[in-house]
């Protein structure tokens, strides 16, 4: 079976949700396994990095890489897989845009470690145990990979051939992408696959806002009874749909929850959060600075709201980390 395509799956800084999506293919995965060779999938099968290192360069046909780049190890393996793979796919929001781990860019490494190991309320704070990069034990020196001072996307450290958005990418999209790969019909390098070109609003069936509809107060979904047929923005709820690529099948919208933006910006948009900000801020109806502050107070966490999945990929992050 030498001509079966070789596939690899890897998870960097991620929650594992993307992996679950693969397993959700269920029986289809078993059939699929007959058509391909999975040469690396640390989450599901026992592989060692050395197994990958042993492969020839470009021996892997397609590598699905999920998770953001958080530490040395993530980066090292990313470079490794790039070398060994013909096609590298940034799979899922984290490797595509930084995802939820990317929100760590709001803080610096030190305060994150402080928070996690020292000040979290559920912690026994008397212990004060902190992870060390290197630790001497009787058996010798144990090292853990060093955490970077900020989270990066895969594309920020390696050349990526395709982006497959989603947190996680929806199963059907994954299946159809796999079909495309098998058929050898991959589009132009650099494209986003497994998603639409336009935004969520394009497919959202809700009644859209009308002329002159403006916002005096932002509300959160739990604060109001939401009309299932009306645009969330028209109801004063921040919805990321206008600046988020469609393709997810609208699970949130159908559950009467606003879009959270996991599919990232649509074709042609560089910075999802600032585009969204530009759209939503223009809906605010006030000419009074004090009132504006009050209205803005109703957006509890602007960065987390507008850049929920794309902070690591944003110009904001870039500016922050260019700072001396």
């Amino acid at each position: 079976m030498a001509n079966k395509p070789k596939l690899a799956f890897y998870w960097a800084a991620s929650c594992g949700g993307c992996e679950i999506t693969i397993t959700e293919l269920g029986m289809r995965l078993v059939d699929f396994d007959e058509k391909v060779d999975i040469v690396f999938w640390p989450c599901a099968m026992d592989f060692k990095y050395d197994d990958v290192r042993a492969l020839d360069d470009k021996e892997i046909d397609v590598c699905f890489f999920n998770g953001a780049i958080r530490n040395e190890e993530n980066e090292e393996i990313a470079h490794l897989l790039r070398r060994k793979s013909k096609v590298l796919v940034a799979f899922g929001a984290c490797s595509h845009l930084g995802g939820i781990p990317g929100l760590a860019n709001l803080s610096d490494t030190e305060s994150i470690i402080q928070r996690v190991y020292c000040t979290t309320p559920s912690l026994d704070q008397t212990r004060g145990t902190l992870p060390q990069i290197s630790c001497k034990v009787p058996e010798g020196n144990i090292c853990i990979p060093e955490m970077y001072d900020h989270v990066k996307t895969l594309a920020q450290i390696e050349e990526v051939d395709y982006f497959m958005p989603g947190c996680p990418p929806v199963v059907e999209q994954v299946w159809s992408v796999l079909q495309v790969i098998l058929a050898g019909q991959l589009p132009k390098v650099g494209s986003t696959i497994g998603a639409d070109a336009k935004t969520v609003c394009d497919v959202c069936p809700r009644q859209k806002g009308r002329s002159g509809l403006r916002i005096k107060e932002f509300k959160r979904p739990h604060e109001v009874e939401l009309d299932p047929d009306t645009c969330f923005l028209a109801q004063g709820i921040i919805c990321c749909g206008p600046a988020t690529r469609a393709g997810c099948g609208l699970p949130c919208i159908s559950a009467n929850m606003p879009c959270r933006g996991c599919y990232g910006p649509p074709e042609g948009v560089v910075d999802q959060g600032s585009k969204l900000l530009s759209a939503i801020a223009a809906l605010i109806d006030t000419d009074n600075p004090a009132e504006l502050q009050k209205i803005m107070d109703t957006i509890v966490d602007p960065v987390g709201t507008f850049y929920r999945f794309s902070l690591a990929d944003s110009i904001l992050s870039e500016l922050k980390h260019k700072r001396p």
């Binding site: 709001l106 859209k208 009308r210 910075d271 600032s274 900000l277 006030t286």
Partner: protein
């Protein structure tokens, strides 16, 4: 009501009968509206609301429809609170315009249009427009019913608030599109001792020619991008400028209530204030991006603002 119930309805009667068109005959030609407005000075020498009112009173219907005044008034209402006769001048002009549109006249203005290949019908433009120019239409594309925004060219005043707010960059007019403006932001700025500043200037915010001269008098390190209204500012433009290495961004708009496009300056204020909050969250808030609202009486303020900004940026550089 017609002035004389027994006479046939005149052009002036028809204007009066449209809400906003009343009180037309109260005008005693003092010219306050003309000099309060900046259109004659900045755009069209033939623009003159006082004369348009006169044309209506003198039953010169065709001339009224063809007058640039009918089409150029953006309803900013700077003139309305200044009018000693309390005539809602933009209301009268609006009434004439609606009659002109009924007669088949069309706006000579350069207005925005929608690229349907990008538009996803989110209706953000519909909601943000001060003039109710865009609206959603439904259309069958490839057998599927799809929604798009369409712009009523007779209503659009070309402010660009929608352009800045469109999340997909689907709506634009020449010179005001994203690419047209981004093109003016340098790709990379070489760091020098003197800080560099990007000024996004709403041309209406500088009333006097002298102020424009001040703006142009600065050396290379102060770069100026003209936008039709501060409401055209998209926070991304500020971010892109900073990314290119420019030390600071100054966005200038009109005083609230004096915006040529009614709400543009308020929109800009919302955008920059919100960006500021984000900077704050990211621990980046150091006053590199500022929005200032310049009033019609703030002669020379542009110099003060730029100098102050440069001073601030210099002090930031020294810290680094």
């Amino acid at each position: 009501m017609n002035h004389n119930p027994h006479a046939p309805e005149t052009f002036a009667d028809r204007v009066r009968n449209i809400p906003g068109g009343e009180h037309l005959e109260m005008c005693y030609s003092c010219g306050t509206c003309v000099s309060k407005c900046m259109i004659q000075q900045k755009v069209e020498p033939e623009y003159n609301p006082r004369r348009l009112l006169r044309l209506v009173m003198m039953e010169m219907e065709e001339e009224a429809y063809e007058s640039p005044t009918t089409w150029l008034c953006s309803g900013c209402d700077l003139c309305y609170p200044a009018c000693p006769q309390e005539i809602h001048i933009s209301g009268v002009i609006g009434a004439v315009k609606s009659l002109a549109v009924e007669k088949g006249y069309t706006s000579p203005l350069d207005t925005v249009s929608v690229d349907e290949s990008l538009c996803s019908g989110c209706a953000i433009c519909v909601m943000v427009c001060p003039y109710e120019a865009p609206h959603l239409i439904e259309k069958i594309v490839d057998g599927v019913n799809d929604r798009f925004s369409e712009v009523d060219a007779n209503r659009c005043m070309g402010c660009g608030i929608c352009v800045a707010s469109c999340p997909t960059g689907a709506i634009a007019r020449e010179g005001v599109s994203n690419t047209d403006i981004v093109r003016q932001i340098p790709h990379e700025v070489v760091k020098t001792d003197a800080p560099s500043l990007m000024v996004f200037i709403c041309d209406w915010s500088l009333r006097a020619d002298a102020d424009l001269e001040i703006l142009e008098s600065y050396p290379e390190n102060v770069k100026v991008i003209h936008i039709p209204c501060s409401g055209r500012i998209d926070p991304q433009l500020a971010l892109l400028s900073l990314r290119s290495g420019i030390s600071g961004v100054l966005v200038c708009g009109c005083k609230s209530g004096e915006c040529h496009y009614q709400r543009g300056t308020d929109v800009a204020n919302c955008k920059i204030s919100m960006l500021d909050r984000m900077f704050d969250q990211m621990d980046l808030a150091d006053g590199r991006v500022r929005f200032v609202q310049i009033g019609t009486q703030d002669r020379g303020r542009i110099r003060k603002e730029i100098d102050q900004m440069l001073l601030h940026l210099t002090s930031l550089q020294e810290v680094c």
